[in-house]
């Protein structure tokens, strides 16, 4: 795979407390990758760190490259061209993510000026075209609206228009629908898929909902306590989930058909950063825990093409396969 973006051993800590504990992740051109996990597991921090958007107190180490170009510690001028121009990002709360005192049209035109050198009437015409593309009705008039005059769903469409303005190769959508009504959520997700087909850009969809990700992505990464514990193509993940945490998330999904049943929530909660176990971070909540789990953090083991999991049970399975192959 010739990766567009590669994260290698990406680590982040705030005030000495680790939030990311070594993320390895590749995103191929045009690919749609889902990033799932409970609140606080580091989904947002991963991409904020890669783009240099974390506050100064965050300590970031490792590597994040865009087609071979290192982004961590890159010069501000380099980052400004990458941000919005090659990797765009949209956020959870569209209402507060737009500047309240700037007309929405101008917020789109600003991105057009920065990344495509467009100004005046040309920028305005392109902004209108983008509004049409993201499904904002009455686009020409809406250009002069203020963010507070629009609904949350409309504002998220504006955010997407801003993101598209720079013709990015990758769009990172950080829980783009969490703050929206259920019907609007589906519309926004469909829009993202349509846009990906039209533009050929890659998509990273961050969500705590495995169902959302399964519908829109080719591949899923499951995160737990600052690490990726399992990643696999969507179909494979549903067929052969390996990490007990992934199993837990799947168990929490409502069935598509058949009678509704209560969601099986995973008992327990994520360990606090200062009380992280020496071994597997999921062990304290794991039904299949064994003494070996507490010895060391299990590494990611390849199980099938594109499928790897960080669990000693996977390690055992991997060994078994090697033995069979030999």
């Amino acid at each position: 795979m010739n990766a567009l973006v590669s994260l290698r051993n990406l680590r982040v800590s705030f005030d000495g407390q680790a939030a990311l504990r070594g993320i390895d992740l590749d995103v191929a051109p045009g690919e749609a990758v889902g990033l799932v996990g409970e609140s606080g597991c580091g989904k947002s921090v991963t991409w904020l760190a890669a783009l240099g958007l974390l506050p100064a107190k965050a300590r970031v180490t490792g590597s994040a490259t865009l087609q071979g170009q290192e982004l961590l510690g890159a010069a501000p001028a380099v980052l400004d061209r990458v941000r919005g121009g090659r990797i765009a990002m949209i956020f959870q709360d569209p209402a507060s993510s737009l500047n309240p005192v700037i007309r929405i049209g101008r917020q789109v035109e600003e991105a057009l000026r920065l990344h495509r050198g467009m100004q005046g009437a040309a920028a305005r015409a392109e902004a209108k075209r983008l509004f049409d593309q993201v499904g904002i009705p009455d686009a020409a008039r809406r250009l002069d609206a203020w963010p507070h005059e629009l609904s949350g769903g409309q504002n998220q469409r504006v955010m997407i228009a801003i993101a598209l303005a720079g013709r990015p190769e990758l769009l990172v959508a950080d829980e783009p629908t969490t703050a929206l009504d259920v019907t609007i959520q589906a519309q926004i997700l469909t829009l993202l898929q349509d846009l990906r087909r039209e533009t050929g850009m890659a998509l990273v969809l961050i969500s705590h909902d495995l169902g959302v990700v399964a519908d829109s992505c080719d591949r899923v990464c499951v995160m737990y306590a600052g690490r990726i514990v399992e990643q696999a193509p969507v179909a494979r993940l549903f067929e052969a989930p390996t990490h007990p945490y992934t199993n837990g998330l799947l168990g929490a999904l409502p069935p598509l058909d058949g009678p509704r049943r209560r969601l099986a929530a995973i008992p327990g909660s994520v360990p606090e950063p200062w009380a992280m176990p020496k071994g597997c971070a999921f062990a304290p909540r794991c039904a299949e825990r064994s003494p070996a789990c507490d010895i060391a953090v299990p590494g990611a083991v390849p199980l099938a093409p594109g499928h790897q999991a960080a669990c000693i049970r996977a390690t055992a399975m991997g060994l078994l396969k090697e033995t069979v192959a030999a």
Partner: protein
């Protein structure tokens, strides 16, 4: 917009009526002007004659209606001391007061706002700590203490500047600095916290995420938002251009409106006191009105349903 202006103007009028009434009541309650002006050992007939001449022998509510009716006709009465029109006496002093307060306002804005912005942009750095230490010192020290301190150093010890009076521009320097420093300190702290609040907002992260260079994020995205709360404080400072120098004018014996007020109160010179208070109320109310209009200009969210951010009309 018309309705907005209408309600604001009505409110302004009510405020002024209240100030005028308050002044009237307090001054009548706090001692007999006739006795004070004529002196304690004046013959009773003389005091009576004085009362009759100024209408002080009539019931208080009649005095109030006369006084109010006269104000409505633009007549603010005459000084009981020297018989001149109160408004002329006050107007004569305005230029002297503005000669202090306008340059002081320039210092407050020109020093306070940039210092606050710089501190916020370098949060927790040496610059931030230094600015904040100076700012805390600047507004915890009362202006008469600061004034006396400056006099002690620059007039008494170094002999560079005069300690009081109004003979040349050099006399204005110390009072201007005294007034300016306190205000600059307040504005620096306020601007810093407004700026920090804005810099933590998601839309600032959005701007960075779309590739806006940091300088442009600060100037184009953060400052216009931080300006909204800051305008309140600046507006309040503009509102106190006339009345804000009472203490400093007294410390430096500067013949402005503030000193006139102090002297007039001591003398129970009713018309003059009322005239000064009316003037002060009008500047306050006017600046508040301007702040309200500026809000609408700066914050599109307030244009449809205006709402006050600070209640000091």
């Amino acid at each position: 917009m018309i309705r907005f202006l209408g309600s604001r103007l009505l409110r302004a009028a009510v405020t002024i009526v209240m100030v005028v009434t308050f002044a009237f009541v307090v001054l009548r309650l706090s001692g007999d002007p006739a006795q004070i002006i004529m002196g304690a050992d004046a013959p009773p007939e003389a005091v009576e004659a004085f009362r009759a001449a100024w209408g002080l022998d009539q019931p208080v509510w009649i005095q109030y209606f006369h006084y109010f009716g006269a104000i409505l006709q633009g007549d603010l009465g005459r000084s009981m001391r020297d018989g001149r029109d109160a408004i002329v006496l006050v107007a004569e002093r305005i230029p002297a007061t503005l000669a202090l307060t306008l340059p002081a306002l320039a210092i407050k804005v020109g020093l306070g706002i940039p210092a606050g912005i710089t501190a916020a942009l370098h949060r927790n750095s040496f610059i931030d700590r230094a600015v904040m230490m100076l700012a805390v010192a600047g507004f915890t020290v009362p202006s008469f203490v600061l004034g006396l301190l400056l006099v002690l150093v620059f007039a008494v010890q170094l002999g560079w500047l005069p300690s009081g009076g109004q003979d040349s521009w050099r006399h204005a320097i110390l009072p201007i600095i005294t007034l300016g420093i306190g205000g600059a300190a307040v504005l620096a702290r306020f601007t810093r916290s407004a700026m920090l609040e804005v810099l933590g907002q998601p839309y600032i992260r959005t701007a960075s995420a779309k590739g806006v260079p940091w300088r442009a994020v600060v100037w184009g995205h953060a400052l216009p938002n931080a300006a909204i709360p800051t305008v309140t404080i600046v507006g309040f400072m503009v509102g106190s251009l006339i009345a804000g120098a009472v203490v400093v004018e007294s410390v430096f014996s500067w013949p402005g409106v503030g000193r006139l007020l102090v002297v007039a109160v001591a003398n129970r010179d009713l018309a003059v006191v009322q005239c000064v208070l009316l003037l002060v109320a009008m500047t306050m109310v006017t600046s508040n009105l301007i702040v309200d209009l500026l809000y609408g200009l700066l914050d599109p969210r307030l244009r449809n349903q205006p709402r006050r951010a600070a209640g000091m009309a």
